[in-house]
Chain length 350, copies 2
């Protein structure tokens, strides 16, 4: 057992019943995978709130954003005995070769004075807008760059799964910056300072005919346009991260290198956390990588839920040596855990 | 029959036997999918040359670039009766869940005074370099922007299929610009002039969990970093382009809009050409699209070859109303055909 996490005794911090539905007729199924940040002495989380209509016997449904629909959401229903329907897992189903999500996600703010007890806003902060986001917004990372908060999140539509960006300085007005990485891509984490004159990010193209869900690096002059894409970390056969890997929140500058927390899943779909150490002046150079996870799903709330055996992070707060990770447990609820950055570095195999 | 192409009577213009292998021990299996350009009164083609070792009974092989190997190429061989091997089509096979190409491609120049009779260089112009290109370079598009030739091509490695860029002004020295669009992506065609202050390109993410092989648009301040990604043309159920679509060479400026030639394949893998008309000031707006192909594989050399029933273009030359398309026929040889741009516009359904 290599788990280095000191979990909050108050876990889970936020559960679906703690969040008010955004629209009448939908219910909150999951609250998960928050971005995390500090703003004016408070800890902020940007929650992913996944909603759907109450289930109806004999039907499966997908809520889709549609500006022409009442409340802005249209619900498509399919009979479960329809031969054109195939149900894949709790999150997705296919109908006539097209894939649909069972829930519709938006991003919601929650605030705390102590980093443990959070009060959730009544209304969404960001919802899907336009043709590229009709299936919603997911898993937002928050980076603070030159005093501006830069939000990178998953946008989903019938056209694919990609990375969208927005910026804010006051958490009231948000500026949309478009899709910054094309499909299929998720898990985009910005470095919070320039390296040799360029901005950098980690991102995660998904599997195609060749390659796999590996972590890539890219650079940018302006955070909006990206190039110089290179793979930095692939999956590892036979290990805890054999099936997919993806970056967590912004890599943390340490004297030894950029410490990037990442998630890895094995072929059974069990999600753990690990770490990469990237060279300070050239983050495409991997100096070290966790042989064993630094955190595994072991608690009841991590083992059972909408999708069991999942710890997934895209938000953390750094205070000196203390790293507070906020994470989605079983794709259902939000939890917290503390780590020693020194402890993670010591556990890395150089 | 809606085929608008006036094929060259000299077709095929270039066949595998017209190209000298780049390395002893490999033979040229296919010469296909050329980029096309004018330089100093001559027509240039940048051919894709696909090579492999002579087949050995009972084995399938993949040539991979490896700077440590003799000649720079290492050949991996697998027994055809190995239960871990599965052969998908003539181009690819899988071994233990990893996908390999049966051929290794590089880019080679060919020159012509009349656009019909070409002399092929003895040596490659561009070969794969570094970790992102070990499986080679494919299907180069050539755009001329501010007097510089900008080359966008497919780079392939175990990490995925993505879009690389290089520039040249003399076709002797090439400047590498890295991977400009991350995997899985192909078919990147640059617009040859800025639109409202930005460069633009069409590109083609491949299928993922959601979405499909659709044509997307992006913009850039410098041709190297790209953002503002948006889908512009999806596949169409039941039509000739039901399975995949991808841009040809640079969109052509006309009074009515940007005319983009594209390829579409149906579920049987039959590749045809069609056209899109995009708004001049906002190329994300599709004004018209071919209901029927403008060119279909009908000639013997288009119907039979390494992969039959394929016409595929990523290179053309514009002379007033005349559009000369160079194309890969059956993934085996290079052919030419002339079109009237007015004729294509008239055939578009507005």
């Amino acid at each position: 057992m290599t788990d280095l996490a000191e979990r909050f005794p108050e876990n889970p911090l936020l559960r679906p019943e703690d969040v008010r539905p955004s629209i009448e007729g939908l219910r909150v199924e999951c609250v998960l995978n928050p971005g995390a940040f500090r703003h004016q002495e408070r800890t902020g989380l940007l929650l992913r709130v996944a909603e759907r209509p109450a289930p109806r016997d004999g039907f499966v449904s997908t809520p889709v954003l549609d500006p022409c629909a009442e409340n802005g959401v249209r619900v498509l229903e399919f009979r479960t005995d329809d031969p054109d329907l195939s149900r894949l897992d709790p999150r997705v189903f296919q109908y006539r070769g097209k894939t649909y999500l069972t829930t519709l996600s938006h991003l919601r703010l929650a605030w705390s004075a102590d980093g443990v007890r959070f009060i959730v806003d009544e209304e969404p902060a960001l919802i899907g807008e336009g043709r590229m986001e009709t299936f919603g917004l997911e898993d937002c990372r928050v980076a603070r760059i030159d005093g501006t908060y830069c939000l990178t999140f998953t946008v989903v539509s019938e056209f694919g799964i990609a990375v969208g960006m927005a910026t804010t300085s006051d958490w009231k007005a948000f500026q949309r910056r478009g899709v910054i990485v094309p499909p299929e891509n998720k898990d985009c984490a910005l470095f919070e300072e320039k390296i040799r004159g360029n901005f950098y990010c980690l991102h995660r193209p998904s599997a195609g005919a060749i390659g796999g869900p590996y972590i890539w690096l890219a650079h940018s002059p302006d955070l909006i346009h990206w190039g110089g894409h290179r793979a930095v970390a692939a999956t590892r056969r036979g290990k805890w991260d054999s099936n997919r890997v993806g970056a967590g929140a912004s890599p943390i500058r340490t004297d030894e290198g950029w410490l990037a927390i990442y998630h890895g899943a094995d072929n059974a779909g069990r999600y753990c956390l690990g770490a990469l150490l990237l060279a300070l002046e050239d983050p495409s150079r991997v100096l070290a990588r966790s042989e064993e996870p630094i955190m595994e799903p072991v608690e009841e709330y991590e083992r059972r839920g909408f999708v069991g055996d999942v710890v997934f992070t895209n938000g953390h707060i750094v205070d000196g040596d203390q790293l507070t990770i906020y994470y989605g447990a079983s794709d259902t609820a939000i939890c917290g855990a503390r780590f020693s950055i020194r402890g993670i570095l010591d556990a890395l195999s150089h």
